[in-house]
Symmetry: C2
Subunit: 305 residues, 2 copies
Amino acid sequence: MINKLVENIKKTEAPIVVGLDPMLSYIPSFIKEKAYAELGETLEGAAEAIWQYNKGIVDAVYDLIPAVKPQVAMYEQFGIPGLMAFKKTVDYCKEKGLVVIGDIKRGDIGSTSAAYATGHIGKVTIGNNTYAPFDEDFITVNPYLGSDGINPFLDVCRSENKGMFILVKTSNPSSGEFQDRLIDGRPLYEYVAEKVAEWGSTAMGDSYSYVGAVVGATYPEMGKLLRKLMPNNYILVPGYGAQGGKGKDLCGFFNEDGLGAIVNSSRGIIAAYKQDEYTSYGEAGYADASRAAVIAMKEDLKQAL
Amino acid sequence: MINKLVENIKKTEAPIVVGLDPMLSYIPSFIKEKAYAELGETLEGAAEAIWQYNKGIVDAVYDLIPAVKPQVAMYEQFGIPGLMAFKKTVDYCKEKGLVVIGDIKRGDIGSTSAAYATGHIGKVTIGNNTYAPFDEDFITVNPYLGSDGINPFLDVCRSENKGMFILVKTSNPSSGEFQDRLIDGRPLYEYVAEKVAEWGSTAMGDSYSYVGAVVGATYPEMGKLLRKLMPNNYILVPGYGAQGGKGKDLCGFFNEDGLGAIVNSSRGIIAAYKQDEYTSYGEAGYADASRAAVIAMKEDLKQAL
């Protein structure tokens, strides 16, 4: 799947992933009103609104981008109906040829990680039948439990040609509380990065590993260093736009061939119509505003790289 | 909710939580056959088998124990139908008066942690209505992202009187890879424990905090030290039984009043009928075997403490 991601990035010339992280407050009133009229002000109504909102955005931008990253928490907050909207979104994006990165940040002891891997990127056997329950292409994984929490994900990546991005240095302000702690003079995140490189070396695609890393756009200097520690691992870079990262800060995350990193923007794309520069689109034009925001982001990155 | 947990522990005289972590291989054939006959060898059939299996165990042990801990990964691996079985299990256990600890190990940047908190221990507002989507009493949380990933959970714990257990030192063999790294001569997990004590001090119940910690039974010496670093925080102790921990190893996790820790056993209870000492119960008596295993665990802990 890393090969498909690289191929999609080359084809679109856009190292961009759109974060499909819907909040009810982002969704235009006309979509919510229609969904609530059909299904009530219920979890089902909210899930339907999310799905219609996502579909509008995906239809407007799918030809411009290589991948999407739905954040499962934004669906999980609406319970079972929300997770059904997550699954519909995953399936629809794959139909459109997009690589789907499930931003699930799971991670547990061995047998439990195995169950998460099965559910999200693997297959489960029931009697004589086999199912791929959520069937994302990539997922994000938390490393706090160490190798035996990571290995089951690695096994499934290899057997199913799927991928994962492991949290190394996250984009939030207090990420340093534990991740930056110095161990023999080097921060914890460097040790995690070295493990990512090691784990990744056992699951290589054509030029990059099935195993990538998450490194926040908000820490460009660290990005440069981590790029060197993980030469064959794709870096998923959250924090562009709304969280403060800009294109020119991101050069260090990329390799010289312009590959090796994929930059996520969520609110900046999906709720573009709420920003000053795109208000002219109005609620009705929310998806076109998202398209305009993708084009602007693509241009910003192209100029920077 | 910490007050209810303490009260339940005192009432049952059992600092025990039963891990409802169903694997298809644990479930007696007669349950699977019935479920598959009704719903096919499908995700729905597997979910029905899990639910019936859980119900049998809960009915057999609920009067002996204060709490259960369903591990969501074991349900998530069966997709949406699996998560519906998770929700049914949560609701049923609460009806039976049990405290439900959702073992979800979520954790992300602020706005995303807020969505997880809403979905699992909080309430979501849709138009004029409010829903509690999964509505567990406690959840487990991963600390890797630091304070701003924890605070949204803390806010919901306070507003909803719910609770959480934060991973400090996990029970798996490679937990030391990152958690034991020395920072100025002290392991990372001690720094996490100090933060747990600090976070917890802002959300106190009558005698213990709404915020607890996860510390594996497999590390008894660390348990003693961590008990002192977190005097007002309940410790959830996984790894008893199948993972190697025994009652006598666990004294250090408890305070002198016999409170302060709750020990989890999953496979050792729910699949007791597959163990040598309980084979006489047979598949048909799987739930009674679970009851016998709870009584034996209770006795083991009583002798040890």
